[in-house]
Symmetry: C2
Subunit: 204 residues, 2 copies
Amino acid sequence: MTEPDKRRRILDAAVKVFAQYGFYNSKVSQVAKEAGVADGTIYLYFKNKEDILIQVFIDSMDEILRRQEEAQEGLEDPVEKLRVFAETHFLSVAESRALAEVITVELRQSSKFMRSTDMKPFGRYLGMIAKIIEEGQDAGAFTRTLSPRLTARAIFGAIDELALEWAMGKRQSSLSDTCAHTTELFLTGLQTRPTSTPSSGGKP
Amino acid sequence: MTEPDKRRRILDAAVKVFAQYGFYNSKVSQVAKEAGVADGTIYLYFKNKEDILIQVFIDSMDEILRRQEEAQEGLEDPVEKLRVFAETHFLSVAESRALAEVITVELRQSSKFMRSTDMKPFGRYLGMIAKIIEEGQDAGAFTRTLSPRLTARAIFGAIDELALEWAMGKRQSSLSDTCAHTTELFLTGLQTRPTSTPSSGGKP
């Protein structure tokens, strides 16, 4: 097994073990067993159990960022961009329930971790959503009254919550329904649109 | 100290200790010290550390549900109801940063807990949002194309994410701005509204 293969194998094993037993109840020796390596080998690649979780997170965020960038390629319409973003997030989560559980549940266990500089990839992820919103505002497709930063965070929160529900197996809707639904909410909102607006010159 | 006082005092101490050290790093003896009771006293009221966290959660959800019900009293307009709901959630979180941290961060640490029947108060909370949406749909104020259940979950996710950011102290906006912003996003959406609609009879 080459060095990068071994590192990858340990990370994959960690995802399985953390998802099954929870991060705090998991032991490094369980990860080693699942990966088929000696306990000591783990420490050639990682400082401790927390370091493994951080690397799982960084690797996964890198992977989802790469997928998002690939999915956005060639898209022009801001509405389409936002739809594709939500879809890619859901698909990535659906693909690996164990990974989703580790990222959405286990990752939040340590508030120390949430405050660390290792949250940079998360900042990049939020930045991608904010950029789609800014571009949409510049193109006149999105309203300028909403802050791209706050809106990006709200959209991430909503997508993440629905993805969590999905990962936990409480699925009352199909993936594509949930996805279409979420983007419709962000795009057009709950309020019914008036049949005419002040600028249209009063009632028809 | 009467019995209910002692229980309350232990729970308040637990919130402080869990928020400072994280749930898994906290010891029951630290909670006892903070509450000013003997270690053994804790076990008269709670089975173990996890039971304390569950009771903190149930008590807090009961309190926030009570506040939400009180805040909704006498309101008729669905839009106003949704605004007040978001506002009350943010105000409750802002009032106790420690409690917010325990609820939004520490609570997610155990996926076992997330799956337990103790999540009932959370279901009631989601149900309150879904009911506001259903009533709004019946009154013709909200579009019927959105599912109340999925929308409630998406709205909770967005509010919770922004409340988490607030609780973590990364505040780039005032509480009222964040609040107004979030409800505007749900109500009117990102897309700019057309200046006239097909039913208004063309351009003015």
